[in-house]
Symmetry: none
Subunit: 136 residues, 4 copies
């Protein structure tokens, strides 16, 4: 992960949000789950600074989109009871593979997390950012 790419991913998420008519926050974290870049659109909720980095952290921590994690944490699910300070287990967090890889291998280099719209809007914005990563 590097700052320049993280900024371009934030911009891609914000552009997608504008298309969706959503006001979002977007966070990009590195392989250690630590914030590299964050942007909150004017008028976006104050909860974005908590939830967007939380989704990104959760995505990199579990190496899967938080949308895929959602069913696993349901009562009876494999990860029911998953808890932690920064866990946010619904759609909007997307892990990032090594550049040039395109598909998720065993390594993640970071993640993007988006919050502020509906869950499907958040996912669309995060995927717009991740697409940029995969093309890098």
């Amino acid at each position: 992960m590097n700052l320049e790419l993280a900024l371009r991913m934030c911009e891609a998420a914000v552009r997608q949000a504008a298309r969706e008519g959503a006001l979002i926050s977007v966070a990009v974290v590195d392989a250690g789950g630590h914030l590299v870049a964050f942007q909150r659109m004017d008028g976006a909720r104050i909860t974005g600074p908590v939830l967007a980095p939380g989704k990104a952290y959760t995505a990199v921590a579990h190496r899967m989109p938080t949308a895929d994690l959602a069913p696993l944490v349901l009562p009876g699910g494999e990860l029911y009871g998953l808890a932690g300070d920064r866990y946010v287990c619904f759609g909007g967090g997307v892990p990032l593979g090594e550049p040039g890889d395109g598909r998720m291998g065993s390594e993640v280099a970071g993640a993007v997390g988006v919050s502020g719209g509906t869950v499907s809007q958040d996912v669309a914005c995060a995927e717009a950012a991740a697409a940029l990563w995969e093309g890098a």
Copy 2:
């Protein structure tokens, strides 16, 4: 948000609680989720100082009544797994639009949170406070 109006909202919530036969705590927060006024009725639970500001914070953070948030955080709901230090995701928190607006637009100026009665009592008390805001 201002202190005078926040105090009148607290009083409105307490009057409604008296009508309901409930003992409540009521919190009013600003647009940043920070406490402006708080009142706990004599005999009300000691958890009120945590839950009432938590409901108010959650309502302003998500720009919706916490009662509307409750089904979304159920297992299988869109926001199941919503987490955060100050989140309280059941009825009793009501966001406040800009004065004169009446209806929730894209902006919230604060929120009121009530805790101590049944959930429906808490909601009734919070709405009594919010009605005063909408009339301001």
Copy 3:
């Protein structure tokens, strides 16, 4: 402690702040350290909702004014290393004895905490509130 008296103490602190030219937050807690009433003046810092209840909690927890606690927590002091989520160990928190007592006995019924001005302004506001308690 009761809400009516707590409200009058908050008002006394706010009146004193106006005299001092300070913008403050004031918190009144019961014997358990739990918030009974809180008021933040228009324009007062957002840190008041953290520090004013913290000073009140600390004053009731240690049964002494936080101003008296300040030297004890200095390096080499008896309580150096005192720590805890809600501790605030400088002036502005004042414990409240049983009504009619006037002097601090072994019992405290609550405390008042003020934050937002200089420490001496905060102390003056907290004492104005406490004076009302002692006269009750």
Copy 4:
């Protein structure tokens, strides 16, 4: 505060860091202390995502540069014992007055926080960002 200006402030801090030979993180928060933009330079410490927003929060909460707060929290200082989740009480956080104001009035619109270099480097970077605000 708005995102466009927050981004330009981040860039100004990063440019100053390059001049100083420092690797920093920079955070811009709004009047409620909530993150608007954050950037961490390549190779900057992983503690930046905690300390830079913490300094910005502290600066907006106390309406003063965190460098000015540092002597007050020393043993024997007026605010020794100041505590709170997000407090960082040494140089690198700078509050932002209303645009066009230039000097700090009674209102703050947000703050910038920088972490990663020496304290004097962090201050220089935060001031470079704040200068941009004052000129806006």
